[in-house]
């Protein structure tokens, strides 16, 4: 083993001695720097390949980064002339930088990993190309050592966010299709030839960029310094694919590669580029994090978001790096643009998550594995079926995807990000007649999704609706997988769940909350079930705590969409407990129940102060979703036909398929099949019992409880596959086989039902919506602020309706048909109840002056739909309502599309509006009988106050009526002078304007609201940080233990 001199010098002398001829001082010297640490069996082969190079002036330096066993003997045995240089424990980059100090007189450095096998002429070819193209850095073509016809890399690129990209399809065969010498953004440090002077000028690798970005950083800086980076594909090296990321150190810190790539990006990009890269990159990371969250890969969320967070925290350090980079910069970013790839981030994400392995891998690896797995899977019938059904799903959703989701029910249109967030931060809730209660966090969720899609609110809305199928399917898959640990039963359960009519009916009726529950419910139950494991030891307690926090966070997210989501958890726990006398597992049920209760508390804390507002909704259960009185008989319930979807008898298919596990299953399969069926029975009972025995009681939308039943049936159907494999297949022909055939037929029937419903392309949703049909309302705002009162069957009304004692529903929208800002309305206040009283009086024939009764509420239009939207299936409105509305003396019927009776209130009072001084005395103030006051009041013509309420156009003297529920925090000023605040009609706000001027109406509780928002943010962050740290600590201390198969 040589030592003491530089490998360059040694090589020259050695070659001269061996050749014995003239000195070859003109031949440039190449020093190969092989970095190793605890090398595997491939080291010798790599060294042999270097020794076999046909280039005469090559020296080899093996830098050992503190291997446990000194590799010196192995190196000498394989390549006697090689130098070995041992350094203290360091990274690949730091070890490679040893060449800066130990190599002299070498013109080029060949930096490489210890597992790279060089074809014989590689060094020569690379060197020739370096001279021919005047390149600073040259890389070879890399192929798979185990399968040399498979390409791994021919130079690399990065996308806008610093993610690496090879341009090679996974499994792509090397057919010389990439064999052209070309400029690339960077070459991998698996094998790179770099000019020694350049390497010195750049200061070698930036060791802080390891792992994941040291090669990107070096090549990028070389580029900025004016050097070319080339790939010479004729030079071929081999590397074992499985070992390609060994050097990334991913196992030690999975966040590091992404963090370093972003750090490189932030350091070396121009300021102009960063202006858009940073926000776009953060947003894209949030999208990825969201998708990772719903796929239950929280560890990956940490790496995705943590990378950006870390760099933003170290901005000062990055600033210093940027100053250094600026000093060496000789070219502009624009000159590098053509070398960079586009759109690789999402591709990488998809590839990574389709792949079954949880390990961190490079994007190319993940893509390759994914495609390989997909190729393998396509040969399986189940995958083919899933692919076919996915196609049917796309076809069935085509009109929703292309035309958007109709604004039916709670599918109200999503406004822009700013509007949504300002509604959330507003101290006053503009739902119903207004309320000072907290705004719902669902608005934040909407704004977040819209932000992630760069402000495309319609697309975000559509995706939330349409993706409920696959997300729910994946949830059911995970749920079943947690029970069976087998793929096929889980996949069948996932399919059976997604194909159930429940989500189709939820879409047809426009029920966002139940749809969200359908999608996220299985995840909730799966986590709660996992938390039902007995806890032993500190590690498990820690994991349980983290899991509970995760369950609470997911429950909070789900509850933000649907207030009744916690009930699903309790119902599932109850199912396990009810099944206990039959199959045992009472303790599992109890632990599920306890976990659910703790999760509810966590969710309630995360949702403060909105959760506190919900607690005060006891007098108004409709605000929690108890607003429906479905007329469903037992058959409808059992086959999940709560709406138009279901395919008739086809919906019996999944129920039949679920019977196999119950009738034939044995052991744990039978146990879980029983629990699944009890779960289904409870879900069905929650819908059918009230419909049968308490038809006059308002209940939640049937799709919510039916989601539980659907999950039970899906689990039973999935277990049927396991039962078929274990308990039916291979046995003699008999009743078991007959039941199995019946179950399989049932499954096919269910699939056919799903396929049949796909025909209309919108899952039964109307082909239009009332907001579009009533678009003219938008222009009516010019005449003054107004409301639209929607009355009728609560299942047909937009938003979240109020419900009167006789089941008639009503909702209020402002200045048009309403949008999603009015979702999750505030619980009914006294003023809201007055509208209900008026509707009840009219419906009961006890007044013919409904218009007068609701005039102080600024109700200008009254709409009574008998369909969910244009083209939807008609449903009769409450029996007395059509005649009652037609009998009102102050309502003029307007032309409207079929299915909608639209009236204009001839007694309407605009808001804000000014009562003329001569009529001010006619306005009843502080009345204890607001209904009577409204009926008797004749306030004459009320002039609309133009402009924004907070800064109106000049208006005359009189009483300014502000039709929001009276609150002492409302105030109005004219010319800086505060007006006297009165209570017209016993519920509204009025301000006595003695002088003409611009009125400014403001709500004084805004600061309080900001404080509550800040408190909520602190609570959320506290719990997230706690969960994060707990999770990180757990990962660091113990490997994950899989649940045993029950």
């Amino acid at each position: 083993m040589a030592s003491g001199e530089s490998p360059g010098t040694q090589a020259l002398r050695g070659q001269g001695q061996e050749g014995g001829g003239a000195p070859r001082t003109e031949i440039p010297t190449v020093a190969a720097v092989v970095v190793t640490r605890d090398p595997g069996p491939w080291l010798e082969r790599a060294l042999h390949s270097l020794g076999g190079q046909d280039y005469p002036s090559l020296a080899v330096l093996v830098v050992d980064a503190a291997s446990e066993d000194d590799p010196g003997e192995r190196v000498t045995g394989a390549l006697p002339d090689a130098f070995v240089h041992r350094v203290p424990q360091s990274s690949f980059a730091a070890a490679a930088n040893e060449a800066l100090y130990t190599v002299r007189n070498a013109t080029f450095l060949l930096i490489c990993h210890d597992d790279v096998v060089f074809d014989p002429g590689v060094v020569r070819l690379m060197l020739e190309e370096a001279y021919r193209s005047n390149a600073g850095i040259v890389g070879p073509k890399i192929v798979d050592a185990d399968n040399p016809e498979v390409l791994l890399e021919v130079g690399r690129s990065i996308d806008q966010f610093g993610n690496p990209h090879t341009g090679i399809e996974p499994g792509e065969l090397d057919q010389a299709q990439h064999d052209a010498v070309r400029d690339v953004f960077y070459v991998s440090d698996a094998a790179m030839l770099v000019r020694t002077d350049l390497f010195h000028e750049l200061g070698g690798f930036d060791a802080s960029r390891f792992p994941g970005a040291e090669d990107i950083d070096l090549c990028w800086r070389a580029r900025l310094a004016g050097a070319r980076v080339l790939v010479a594909p004729e030079a071929r090296v081999q590397q074992p694919e499985a070992a390609r990321n060994r050097g990334d150190g991913a196992a030690a810190d999975p966040v590091a590669p992404a963090r370093n790539r972003i750090r490189t990006l932030l350091t070396l990009s121009s300021a102009r580029t960063l202006l858009w890269v940073v926000p776009a990159g953060v947003a894209a990371s949030f999208v990825e994090a969201f998708l990772l969250t719903i796929t239950l890969r929280r560890g990956r969320v940490r790496s995705t978001l943590g990378a950006w967070w870390w760099n933003l925290r170290h901005f000062r350090e990055i600033g210093r790096g940027r100053r250094r980079a600026r000093e060496g910069r000789r070219i502009d970013d624009r000159d590098l643009r053509q070398l960079r790839a586009r759109g690789t981030r999402m591709r990488g994400f998809v590839a990574e998550h389709v792949a079954p392995d949880d390990r961190m891998r490079s994007i190319a690896d993940a893509s390759r594995s994914a495609v390989s797995a997909a190729t393998e899977s396509t040969r399986q019938p189940l995958f083919a079926l899933a692919a076919l059904l996915a196609l049917v799903w796309v076809i069935g959703s085509r009109h929703l995807l292309t035309g958007g989701v109709p604004a039916v029910g709670t599918f109200a249109r999503w406004p822009g990000i700013v509007d949504t967030l300002s509604t959330y931060a507003s101290g006053w809730r503009y739902t119903g007649l207004g309320s000072s209660t907290a705004a719902p966090p669902g608005l934040v969720a909407m704004a977040g999704l819209t932000t992630a899609l760069f402000g495309a609110a319609g697309l975000a809305h559509t995706l939330v609706v349409v993706l409920a199928f696959p997300v729910g399917a994946y949830g059911a898959y995970r749920f079943t997988r947690g029970i069976t640990q087998e793929f096929a039963p889980s996949a069948v359960a996932g399919l059976a769940y997604a194909l159930n009519p429940v989500p189709r009916n939820a879409i047809a009726a426009g029920r966002l909350g139940p749809l969200a529950l359908f999608a996220l419910g299985p995840f909730l139950i799966a986590i709660a079930l996992r938390r039902a494991d007995p806890v032993r030891g500190v590690q498990q307690r820690r994991r349980t705590l983290t899991g509970l926090l995760g369950l609470g966070a997911l429950l909070a997210f789900t509850t933000a969409w649907y207030q009744l989501a916690p009930l699903l958890l309790f119902a599932a726990a109850a199912a396990v407990m009810v099944a206990a006398p039959l199959v045992g597992g009472f303790r599992i049920g109890v632990r599920m129940l306890v976990a659910s209760a703790i999760a509810v508390v966590i969710a309630a804390v995360l949702l403060v102060p909105w959760s506190l507002a919900l607690l005060g909704a006891g007098d108004d259960p409709a605000s929690l979703g108890f607003s429906f009185r479905p007329h469903l008989d037992l058959v409808d319930v059992l086959r999940f036909q709560s709406g138009p979807a279901g395919g008739g008898w086809a919906a019996w298919g999944f129920v039949t398929a679920g019977a196999l596990a119950l009738i034939v299953g044995r052991g744990p399969r039978f146990t879980w099949a029983t629990r699944a069926w009890i779960m289904a029975l409870i879900g069905w009972a929650l819908v059918w019992l009230p419909a049968r025995f308490a038809p006059d009681v308002s209940v939640p939308a049937p799709e919510a409880a039916l989601s539980l039943a659907a999950l039970g049936v899906a689990l039973a159907a999935g277990l049927g596959v396991s039962v078929f494999v274990e308990d039916v297949r291979g046995r003699s022909l008999g009743a078991r086989q007959a039941v199995a055939v019946l179950a399989a037929t049932g499954f096919v029937l269910g699939v056919l039902g799903f396929t049949a419903d796909a025909g209309d392309g919108r899952w039964g949703a109307p082909d239009g919506d009332w907001p579009a049909a009533l678009a003219f309302l938008q222009t009516e705002r010019d005449s003054g602020g107004f409301r639209v009162l929607w009355v009728g069957d609560p299942s047909l009304l937009p938003l979240d309706p109020f419900v009167t004692s006789d089941g008639t529903g009503y909702s209020l929208t402002r200045n048009g048909s309403g949008d999603a800002r009015e979702l999750w309305r505030a619980p009914s206040g006294r003023a809201d109840g007055l509208v209900g009283d008026a509707v009840e009086l009219a419906a009961g024939g006890r007044t013919d002056r409904l218009g007068h009764l609701v005039a102080p509420m600024s109700v200008r239009y009254i709409a009574m739909p008998s369909r969910a939207g244009p083209g939807a299936t008609p449903q009769p409105p409450p029996a007395r309502l059509p005649g009652a509305l037609a009998s009102q003396l102050d309502l003029a019927r307007l032309e409207a599309p079929p299915g909608l009776a639209l009236y204009e209130n001839t007694a309407w009072i605009p808001t804000p509006g000014t009562v003329r001084p001569a009529n001010v005395d006619r306005v009843p103030l502080g009345s204890k009988n607001p209904t009577g006051a409204a009926l008797r009041a004749d306030v004459g013509r009320v002039n609309a106050v133009r402009g924004s309420p907070s800064a109106s156009a000049p208006t005359g003297q009189g009483l300014v009526l502000w039709s929001e529920a009276f609150d002492g925090d409302w105030s109005a000023t004219v010319g800086g002078k505060t007006l006297r605040h009165v209570k017209p009609f016993g519920w509204a706000n009025g301000f006595d304007a003695r002088t003409r001027g611009s009125v400014s109406i403001d709500y004084g509780g805004q600061l309080r609201r900001y404080g509550m928002v800040a408190l909520q943010a602190v609570l959320v962050l506290t719990i997230l940080v706690f969960a994060w740290r707990s999770s990180a600590s757990r990962r660091a201390r113990a490997p994950r233990v899989r649940r045993p198969n029950p």
């Binding site: 009738i663 069926w677 049968r692 037609a886 009102q888 102050d890 309502l891 019927r893 307007l894």
Partner: protein, 483 residues
Amino acid sequence: MRRLLVLLVVGGCIAVAAAFGVRSTGAAPATSAAGAVANAVPTVAGADTVSTTWYCAEGTGAPGGRADETILIANEGDAEARAVVTVMPGGQLRPSSRRVTVPRGAQVRVSVSSVLQAPEQPGDAGLIVGPGVVVEVFGGRSVVEHEVEGENDLAVGPCARQAGTDWYFAGGTTERGAEENAALFNPFPDDAIVDLTFATDAGFIAPADLQSIAVPRRSRITVPIGNFVLRQAQVALHAHVRTGRIVAERSMTFTAENETRRGLTLSLGAPRPESSWSVPGVVPEDGALHSVLVANFDPAATEVEISPRSEQGPSASPKRVPVGGRSVAAVDLASLEGSGAPFAVDVRTTRPSPVVVEELASWGPPNTGTGSATSLASPVRARGWTFAVGRLAPEDVATISIFNPTHSRTTVKLLAYASGGGAAPGSVGEVAVPARSQAQFDLGDLGVAPDQVVVLRADAPVVAARRILGPTGASLALGVAEP
């Protein structure tokens, strides 16, 4: 064993639910009796009603009109009521209102012309524009009737509580000396489109000029039917509203040219045909002509069974009368009951097609009273009936007849509020009415003054009608039901 238990539990739950589901099948939603009555005839509103609206379609609002109208508002509630009488003159004139206070238990009269001088004016296509009246009473338990006067006769009857999309009249005529007018009143803020068709003894008529009649918002038009349906002895009218809702009333003026009748009649229409009708208070006497008109608006022929019911119960055999499709049959009641005692008439269809039944009566010499009257028969029965006015003048002979169509005896009390109002009505008479029989109170004999509000209470559902006969005219009308 365990599997069997599980299957039993799961299957049992579903089976039990299915059993309950089957038991629930076929239970039709019950329609409340009160709702059925309210849909058929004017009713007294419940005490919790905040405002009650009455629509008085027919009448004229200027002195010397063909049917000068006066509104009678009675308050049967627990407190003083406030009422707003709004006259909607139609045409270019704006509606005008007057607020009146009605003391508890009192009756208030408001002349339409005192609110707004609204003479009738010619309208489009031979129609006439005239005033309709809306009376809004704030508070429940009010009764509003209106009185029209003309041709030396008067007629009084309840105004309508509801507008509707169909109105039926059985007893019209356009024979010589008879002027039949249909008043179509649209009190709502949007226009109505109405089709008028007629079933006559000569067949079905749908005059082209009377199709798609526009009744503008907040106005009333009068259709002089004789101008479109010429010289028909029996003319039954069906007003169908295509768009909107209206209130329809019909009046007939029998002039000197008429051979048998004189005077003025007023009838509120029926909202739909029914299969059973009752006509109380037929009093055979000299100079009186009583007939019932049975109109069949269905294309299919039908048959009705007409049964007289005297104070002693069924007094003669029922008479079966065929009624052709879209036709009218007139039955002279004198031929039904030979005893000369007052009686009621029960009319029932024996075939599926429902009918509309109306009574037409006239009085002349040698009877002391003169005039003509029509009244819709009653398709409903109720335990309470209210009349805003018992009789119009002290010299009038006014009776209230009660028909008990049930199969059990019932006791009926006649109550009257004190003149000028009072807290509660006092009892002025009581009578026991045998099953399927009728009885009557003579208000003059009982000392009921013209300004007293009269209320009738029965132990069982009955039908009550008022007959006023005097030198100033004659009138027949059902009471306002209290369901």
